[in-house]
Point group: C2
Chain length 770, copies 2
């Protein structure tokens, strides 16, 4: 844990330069706009620890996997979102000496992520070895309004001297991924040059042949004279100037980046130039104004307000802010990488995180087509999922979605994950259910959903096998969401969601048959689906699955024989051995009882209404103490269940852990990037947990509670055609409903009708709400 | 399976050039002398499929491991015996056209491995595109007498033309390993040149800094004029000559290779030159004569003769021949790589193969110090084994020997092997038992054995944990010798050998205490060993271990819950899906019931006398049909057990499978090298299986049977100070005992005393022996 950042409601602030945490800050202060993103690297030359990172959505490279001995079925490559063109660099020389924060004497320093306005700001004063002091002020953003545009203002003020200043404004495409498996450079140069004061550089990816062009215009306050320097894949505009004491030199850089993901390859340069010219015509100040306006509007809909707890307030906004920077939902080809655009780990690829964590967020905070696009993404990959299953030896249209993917193909590099962490297939089916349940859009099932569900159900039916020894169906060789176990038998969560998938598919099948018989018949034919035999088989299996449990404790077992382990509380692991993933051998972790994320609890969260509260309690009481929460996806789910069980302190503790995961670097890995997808989990922990929001059989339920520490909180969300703002105080809950019409919900267990405007509910004592 | 080689009792013969099998033949026809080895590459330039391979014992490189995501405890490198200097190349040009068997018209062709004399021979006639026909005859060997010397005679005869011949005699150190993980070149040049008609080249390994020099002298029958050509790391002597029809040009190359494994670095060149000059003084013919003599003597002691079955005869000799080429036992720093010097797979490193398969061979066929050296090798690595265990989280002197090693450090690259395939620790203890039992050298226990055993027993005591659920000790997360299962619980074999290790260590502890109390006290002190508490704990654990079994079938279970799998006979797997390792996904293999090598049977083989015959039979009957024998180490053990159970046909079938494994390329992988260590298994299958030889509590037992097909067989072996030759015919068994004195054995279950000379036993009917 690191607590070096200042706590403010709207801003993340670093008040000193922490060389040892610089890469962590680079992740936390990242900016993006859904199409592009960037780590909060310094503009000027810098000799300290840094991971330069600029990423473009959808532009990836199939990096050859690194495995000990390749075996059949292993993925050939690990797809990686590429570190891409760097347009921000501004190298400063004062009297011939280059500015470098890492080696110079820093008199003042502040790096700020302004979440209200969507800006990265930096202000510092530094003393050069020869005594010159300069003050620098930089503001940078990726425009949310013009999604190919990045803008930077960089001001240098001479504090105590007059002398020479040289500024090199650099556009550089000599970029490599830090995580390249074989130190390969993934880009091939196309060209570089200057066109009418616009710096231009273009490159393409090897193998995938994505083309990217970036155009940058630099401007300088007092009409500086400049020279261009053109090197391979690098264009620099060098400004040399006399600067007088007290004077400020302002550099502005505006960039426009285009890619063949959106345009024909031969138009990229001209598109970049045109986009850049449009942006320059608006100018930096206007772009900035529109950026502020965009975020102002966004926060109106999206903000969560917490009174009396600045730390929580800052954290929840940070999570919402980063999510909105990462994915806007306009393009069904895109998805949400676990690190968004804030680092290279996990390759920017798609994981089950999207279905299990992000979709609920977007369902509640964006128009339905955003979540729908995320579903369509998987629909479009169905064929690849069927191929993937075939490679492993499955047949008859069984679909196994990849654990990690960029284009539908599996591209992780560990067999224990790709072959065995198959629960993702369940989450993909669950997301369909979730979407339809939330939106009521059951046409989706007819048009897309059923086809995916059949592929998934077919997989599960083949993946179970009948154990003569048990007289039941078993699922062998599985890795559950708790990745601190590999290749276990009868992982409760996986078997449970698999059973549910088969049952849900049968239900949907009937639904589609009733609703659109023609489509139903067509689909059966297309899929060579034997409705009678296959459904019968699914029912037979679903009805006779072995689920490991401990009758004495009244709990489900994470996997068969889990209780053969030495059971100890995670609290017994000394602080200096945490996270165990960084301090223990993998061998020791695998054999220990400790849980990365408790998948039994994940199942109880998904299927809460299948179980009574005492069952959930017994399982929570058993598993929570064993969980080290070293998956970023863990604490949010535990927090939600804790609210259900009225474990309010626990719920708050775990909420803060998920909300401040990156801000305090709980797992000592934020240097690799922020845990973007888990931020949706933070939001869930708030709205589903504290807010007690859920939708069951199409009906909204709200059942909020107020953590002790808080005076008041409010959050907004959309449900069908309603927009609700819930405000919770100790003795009063109000639900403001926008738009006409009424909405019947279950409020604190009571059927209640909400009307347009403010609906207020009182409670005589705090305790009644608490 | 490939049956393209001719079957002869003393020779392996390839009568045609099979381009598709060339790499297989290169493995099979490999030559070596324990210190060096070489694949049977062609001397001349060649454009077909080939893996050029020259290997030097002990010269390795720590190649950075290739793993998906590195985790704590993963080995940093995979040690690899290096592909080294190539001294054999002879490029032939006829009228300016280079000889290339792959593209030219081959009129006749024969490649021969002459096992009786230790020679690789090749003879072919080839027609050049312009019509010139030449006949080539090559003989090559690594001298068993002078172990730094290699020799080649290469004759070219002009059959139908007179014209120009150019011969380039090349010495080349521009060599890379095909299996380099990151395409790295492991050698750094030192130099190259010519000294008084001797070509010289030297290089050193990166990181490990092994230095190697090779000196070669080329000679030519009719005093050819020649030119030297020196390129980086390559020295060529180019002979240009007119050749007349019917004339033969003979080239001889003699090489001497020295390494810093044996000499100071600064002496390598002069040592190589001196060694070469000595060899050249003897001359090719004399070297050849001594080579023949060496092998003649070797076969006198080592031969196994089978009458009436040339295929078996050829195969058993091939196995013995290759073993003797690989390891001579003179150097305790060396060991036996699974592929010997015949390929790069498995890196030439040491596996448990040595203890479980090779030691019995060398115990019976070489002086005791050879097997002892192999034990000392592990003794010398004890400290590293303790470090290795510490890395994984074990403590108090627990030792985990590596699964793969070159210098005592673990260097495999898959966690499921390095962390989990821990049964190797058991084999290392077993080898100590085996050695002492066979040789009677119990001083070894005092001097070395006990220390190793304590480290191993300590490991097992920590590796078991007490399961409250079962009320017994369990061993979780194990990979048994059957590597087609990973990370299973309670692998019967591993748990059994672990239990035995603890018990045996206690026994040896008492023994040492009785025999040498001072040493005992000293050891206890050095090892900080609490004799009372630790022994008590070992006994407690060993007495209460959970062993999975199926009571109904009366069998031990390979692992807990093995019977949850769908049990089918391996015979149901279609031929075109074999080997499954090359045709099925790893996922499918892991979840199938099929067994790479049946480890329960391995346990019953090791501990035969702990079980009654019917128990062994029930387990054999259950497991053998499930076994696909895709480990080369599998069929030999099954064959031995089959003889014990009087399954004579099965025993023969499996013997032939192990004996001809490479000759017929059963597992479609001989191209990567021969399965050298499993050749010791072949020998065991013969002597321990057919010969019925075992030693129990120091007493030799012999109980031979004669496979149906055979008329007679004989084999020799040493036991303590006796040398025995056993000859088995249908109605008569004779045991010739060399050296003075008598030996009391158990012959066919009867206590029998053998005297010097021939001891003959008759049987009235064949059946009595059969």
């Amino acid at each position: 844990m690191k607590q070096y950042l200042s706590i403010e409601p709207w801003r993340i602030v670093e008040r000193r330069y922490f060389p040892e945490y610089n890469e962590v800050s680079e992740s936390i202060f990242s900016i993006g706009n859904g199409k592009m993103g960037q780590r909060a690297n310094f503009e000027e030359s810098f000799s300290g620890k840094t991971l330069r990172g600029n990423y473009l959505a959808g532009i990836y490279y199939p990096d050859k996997t690194r495995v000990g001995w390749w075996k059949n079925g292993y993925p050939e490559y690990f797809a990686k979102v590429l570190n891409s063109v760097n347009w921000i660099s501004v190298n400063i020389l004062i009297n011939g000496q280059a500015l470098d924060l890492h080696t110079m004497s820093i008199l003042s320093y502040e790096r700020v992520l302004d979440m209200r306005q969507g800006l990265l700001e930096r202000k510092f004063t530094v003393k050069f070895p020869q005594g010159e002091i300069i003050e620098v002020e930089a503001i940078r953003f990726y425009s949310m309004v013009y999604d190919e545009i990045g803008a930077l203002s960089y001001k240098v003020k001479a504090i105590n001297f007059s002398g020479k200043i040289e500024v090199a404004c650099i556009l550089d495409f000599n970029v490599r991924n830090q995580d390249s498996n074989y130190d390969e450079i993934f880009w091939t140069p196309i060209g570089e040059g200057v066109k009418q004061d616009i710096a231009l550089v273009s490159a393409k990816t090897k193998k995938t042949d994505f083309h990217v062009s970036c155009a940058v215009k630099n401007s300088c306050t007092f009409g500086c004279s400049s020279q261009w320097k053109i090197e391979p894949q690098k264009v620099s505009q060098i400004i040399q100037q006399e600067i007088s004491e007290g004077e400020t030199l302002t550099i502005q850089k505006i960039s426009c980046t285009t890619s063949s993901f959106y345009y024909p390859k031969d138009e990229l340069e001209e598109r970049a130039i045109a986009g850049l010219n449009d942006a320059c015509e608006l100018g930096f100040e206007e772009l900035l104004k529109q950026q502020k306006k965009y975020w102002e509007d966004r926060w109106k809909e999206n903000d969560i307000i917490i009174e009396n707890d600045v730390s929580a307030q800052q954290a929840i906004r940070f999570n919402i802010f980063q999510l909105n920077q990462t994915y806007t939902g306009v393009d069904a080809r895109l998805n949400i990488g676990p690190k968004g655009f804030t680092g290279e780990k996990y390759g920017g690829s798609t994981y089950w995180d999207t279905e299990a964590y992000c979709i609920p967020y977007y369902l509640s905070t964006a128009p339905p087509n955003v979540a729908r696009n995320l579903l369509i993404y998987r629909y479009n990959h169905l064929e690849k999922a069927i191929e993937n299953a075939q490679k492993l030896g499955f047949n008859r249209g069984a679909a196994l979605y990849p654990m990690v993917t960029m284009n539908g193909e599996e591209c992780h590099n560990e067999w224990e994950i790709t072959f065995e962490e198959i629960h993702r297939n369940g989450a993909i089916a669950y997301a369909i259910f979730d979407y339809v349940n939330y939106t009521g859009d059951d046409q989706y099932l007819i048009d897309y959903g059923l086809e995916v569900l059949i592929g998934i159900a077919r997989f599960w039916a083949q993946r179970f096998n009948f154990s003569r020894a048990k007289g039941q169906y078993v699922m062998l060789g599985v890795t559950g969401p708790n990745e601190y176990e590999n290749n276990v038998n009868n992982n409760w969560y996986t078997s449970y969601i698999a059973k549910w998938c088969m049952e849900y598919t049968v239900k949907v099948l009937h639904h589609v048959k009733d609703k659109d018989y023609d489509k139903y018949k067509l689909l059966l034919k297309e899929l060579d689906f034997d409705a009678l035999a296959e459904v019968e088989r699914w029912k037979t299996i679903a009805g006779n699955i072995f689920f490991p449990e401990d009758k004495e404790r009244g709990i489900f077992l994470q996997q068969e024989n889990y209780l053969d382990k030495e059971i100890r509380a995670a609290s017994e692991v000394p602080e200096n051995e945490r996270p165990i993933s960084q301090n223990w051998s993998w061998d020791r972790i695998l054999r220990s009882c400790f849980i990365k994320q408790a998948d039994v609890l994940q199942g109880l969260y998904f299927f809460e209404h299948h179980f009574d509260k005492e069952t959930i309690r017994r399982n929570f009481d058993f598993y929570e103490p064993l969980t080290v929460h070293e998956s970023s996806l863990s604490p949010c789910i535990h927090s939600i269940l804790a609210t259900r069980l009225d474990y309010h302190d626990k719920a708050y503790e775990l909420f803060m852990r998920t909300a401040r995961l990156d801000l305090e670097d709980f797992n000592n890995d934020t240097n690799e990037g922020c845990h973007i997808t888990s931020m949706a989990g933070t939001w869930m922990a708030f709205v589903k947990g504290f807010g007690g929001v859920k939708v069951r059989e199409g009906r909204l339920e709200i059942n909020p509670f107020l953590p002790k520490k808080w005076e008041r909180y409010s959050f907004s969300f959309g449900f069908r055609n309603h927009l609700l703002k819930v405000t919770v105080k100790a003795d009063e809950i109000s639900i403001q409903k926008k738009f006409k019409g009424s909405l019947t919900i279950l409020f604190k267990g009571q059927v209640t009708t909400l009307f347009e405007g403010i609906n207020t509910f009182y409670s005589v004592t705090k305790a009644a709400i608490r």
